[in-house]
C-alpha cells in the first residue's frame, strides 16, 4: 500500500497548514483564558485573537465591518441561527433540492412549529437549475431564498448572482450556505448581493472542527438563537442588540478560533482566486479520468468550471459502502459513501436508495493522488 490518500476534504480538511495547529497550541499554552471585559491583559489577548479572526473572515467575504461576523460552533449552528432568527410565522422560503439537511431539516422544523412553508426547486440530474423555476416558486409571502453555494454531493456550483437577483426583485432576502465554497471559491457578499451567510471553519477555511460563523448584512435584525452571558449589558434579561455580542452568548471556542485565524490568513494571503485556479486543474484532470471509466456512473455536470472539488459516483455492481471500505482497507484511500446528509440531492441524481461514493479534493490534492484513486477504482471492475 502506498501512503494514505485523503479524499474526504468536503467533510473536513486534512491536513491543515502547520500554523493552524501551532496557533492552537500557543493559545492553550500561553493564553488559555476566556473573554476579557472587567478582567486582565491575558483575557484581552484572548479576545484580540477572536477579533483578528473576525477581521480575516470579513476580509475573505469582502465585508467592511468585522462586527457583522459572529462565530458559532459550525455551519449547522450558523444555518439554524440564521433561519430561526429571520423567519416569522407565515413566511415562505424558496430552497433547492441540493441542500444539506442542515437547511432542509431546519426549514422542516419551522414548518412543523412556526407555520413557515418552503418550496423546493429541483435541479436536473446534472445539477442544473432552470431559473424560471425560482421565479415560479415565489409567493406573496416569500421572505427568503435559502441555498448553498456549491453542492456537498455533486460539487455543482449554483448560479447565485442570478438567483439573488430574482430573490431581491421579489423583496426576499438570500441566505447562502458556503460550507462547500468558502475558501476554495470566491465569495464576495457585495458582488453576490448576499444578505445572510453561513460558513464552516473546518472545511476549506482550514480551521479545526467546532467553529463556524455567520455574516449578517447591516440593517437586518435577527432574533437570538442562544441566550446567555455576554460581556456587556449583563443586567438586561434580553440579549444585547449589538453585533457580534448578540449572537455570541457564552464562552467561544477560543482554541478553534485561534486555529481558524491561521487557516484564513493562509487563504487570504495566497488568495482564493489562486487556490481555485490550482484546484481547478486537479478537478479537470479528475473529471477527465473518471469520465473515461465506463464501469462507473459519475454524477453532476461533469464540467469543471461549474464544479468544486467534490465528485459523486458509483461503481457498477458494488454497494458504495463496500467500495469505500475496499478503497480504505486495500489502498489506504479515504472516501465516503451514503447520502451525505443531502437526500434530495440523491433524489435529483437518482441514488436515493443506494447512495453514492463521494471523493473530494483539497488545497494539497495532487494529480498523482487522483491517479492512485483511479487505479484503485480500475481494480473494481
Amino acid at each position: 500500500m502506498e501512503k494514505e490518500i485523503y479524499l474526504d476534504w468536503s467533510a473536513t480538511s486534512y491536513k491543515k497548514p502547520t500554523q493552524v495547529l501551532d496557533a492552537m497550541i500557543s493559545f492553550i499554552e500561553d493564553v488559555g483564558v476566556s473573554s476579557g471585559r472587567g478582567a486582565y491583559k491575558r483575557a484581552f489577548a484572548a479576545d484580540n485573537i477572536v477579533y483578528e479572526c473576525r477581521k480575516e473572515v470579513a476580509r475573505l467575504f469582502s465585508v467592511s465591518d468585522p462586527a457583522r461576523i459572529a462565530f458559532t460552533s459550525g455551519a449547522t449552528e450558523s444555518i439554524n441561527l440564521l433561519l430561526k432568527g429571520f423567519l416569522q410565522p407565515g413566511d415562505h422560503v424558496v430552497t433547492t433540492s441540493l441542500e444539506h439537511n442542515a437547511v432542509i431539516r431546519t426549514l422542516h422544523r419551522l414548518k412543523l412549529t412556526r407555520d413557515v412553508d418552503y418550496t423546493i426547486v429541483h435541479c436536473d440530474s446534472g445539477g442544473h437549475f432552470d431559473l424560471t423555476d425560482f421565479k415560479k416558486s415565489v409567493r406573496p409571502n416569500t421572505k427568503l431564498f435559502a441555498l448553498n453555494h456549491a453542492s456537498n454531493v455533486i460539487g455543482r456550483i449554483l448560479p447565485i448572482r442570478a438567483i439573488t437577483k430574482i430573490a431581491h426583485e421579489h423583496n426576499a432576502k438570500i441566505m447562502l450556505d458556503t460550507a462547500q465554497s468558502a475558501g476554495s471559491l470566491e465569495v464576495n457578499v457585495a458582488e453576490l448581493d448576499v444578505d445572510l451567510l453561513a460558513f464552516a471553519g473546518h472545511k476549506s477555511l482550514l480551521g479545526p472542527q467546532g467553529v463556524g460563523g455567520v455574516y449578517i448584512r447591516e440593517g437586518i435584525t435577527l432574533a437570538t438563537f442562544k441566550e446567555g452571558g455576554t460581556g456587556s449589558d449583563s443586567k438586561s434579561r434580553t440579549m444585547p442588540e449589538n453585533l457580534p455580542e448578540r449572537f455570541e452568548a457564552g464562552t467561544l471556542n477560543y482554541p478553534g478560533i485561534a486555529g481558524l485565524k491561521e487557516g484564513l490568513k493562509y487563504i487570504n494571503s495566497r488568495g482564493v482566486t489562486s487556490i481555485r485556479k490550482a484546484e481547478l486543474e486537479v478537478i479537470k484532470y479528475a473529471l477527465e479520468r473518471l469520465k473515461a471509466l465506463e464501469h462507473l456512473t459519475l454524477y453532476g455536470s461533469g464540467n469543471a468550471d461549474d464544479t468544486v472539488g467534490v465528485f459523486a459516483l458509483n461503481v457498477k455492481g458494488y454497494e458504495p459502502s463496500v467500495v469505500a471500505h475496499t478503497l480504505d482497507i486495500e489502498h489506504g484511500i479515504m472516501v465516503r459513501s451514503g447520502l451525505h446528509c443531502a437526500p434530495l440531492a440523491h433524489e435529483s441524481i437518482g441514488t436515493l436508495d443506494g447512495g453514492a461514493l463521494r471523493a473530494s479534493i483539497g488545497y494539497t490534492t495532487t494529480k498523482h493522488e487522483i491517479d492512485v484513486f483511479i487505479d484503485a477504482l480500475e481494480k473494481l471492475r
Binding site: G36, A39, K41, F44, N48, Y51, A67, S232, P240
Partner: protein, 183 residues
C-alpha cells in the same frame, strides 16, 4: 499603507470597564508598543478636532461619541460601543499614528496648544445631579464656566464626596488636565 517599518508594532488592550459617562458603553485603556510623544505635533496637524496640550504631551479628540486620549504609551477611550468597537478604535488609532509617522515629511507639525471641546462635552462627564452645591444653577452652567476658566473642577461637590463618582472623578480630572483647565 507604506512598506517601511511601522512606528507602532502593537497596541494591546489592558483594561476595560463599563463607561462612567454613557450607559451600556465601555471605557478602555490600551498600551502602545512605543511612546507616541514625537508623533503628537504631526497628529495635532492631521486630526482636525484635536485638543493638544504640548506641556503635558496629551492629545485628545473625538470620533463620533468616543473620546480618545493619547499620552506617552497610553491610549484611553471613553464611550466605545462595546469590545469589538474597542478593537476597531485601536486599529484606527494605530493606523492613524503609523500613517501620520510614515508621512511626517509632508506634514507641517503644529506645536500650538489647542482646546477644541464644548461645554456640552464637559457637561457629559459631570455627575449631572443639578445639585447647585457649586453655586451654579445647573451642571451645564458649571460646564460653561469651567471651560471659560472661571471655576475649578474641585468646586463640584458630588464628584469629590464619597465613592459614587470616584471613577468619573478620575476621568474628569484627566480631561481637565488635558484641556489645561482649572482642576
Amino acid at each position: 499603507m507604506t512598506e517601511q517599518k511601522l512606528f507602532l508594532e502593537r497596541v494591546s488592550l489592558i483594561y476595560m470597564a463599563p463607561c462612567v459617562i454613557a450607559n451600556n458603553n465601555v471605557r478602555f485603556e490600551a498600551e502602545f508598543s512605543s511612546d507616541v510623544k514625537e508623533v503628537m505635533p504631526y497628529l495635532n496637524t492631521v486630526i482636525k478636532n484635536a485638543t493638544y496640550n504640548p506641556e503635558r504631551e496629551i492629545i485628545f479628540f473625538t470620533k463620533g461619541p468616543r473620546m480618545i486620549t493619547l499620552r506617552d504609551r497610553k491610549l484611553a477611550v471613553q464611550r466605545a460601543d462595546d469590545q469589538t468597537d474597542a478593537y476597531k478604535i485601536i486599529d484606527f488609532v494605530k493606523d492613524l499614528i503609523n500613517d501620520t509617522y510614515a508621512n511626517r515629511e509632508s506634514i507641517t507639525p503644529s506645536y500650538e496648544k489647542k482646546v477644541r471641546t464644548s461645554a456640552l462635552e464637559i457637561f457629559s462627564y459631570l455627575p449631572r445631579t443639578n445639585c447647585k452645591l457649586c453655586g451654579e444653577p445647573t451642571c451645564l452652567a458649571f460646564a460653561v464656566k469651567l471651560l471659560a476658566g472661571e471655576v475649578a473642577l474641585s468646586a463640584c461637590v458630588p464628584l469629590y464626596s464619597g465613592e459614587k463618582f470616584s471613577a468619573r472623578k478620575k476621568e474628569m480630572e484627566e480631561l481637565v488636565e488635558t484641556m489645561g483647565l482649572n482642576s
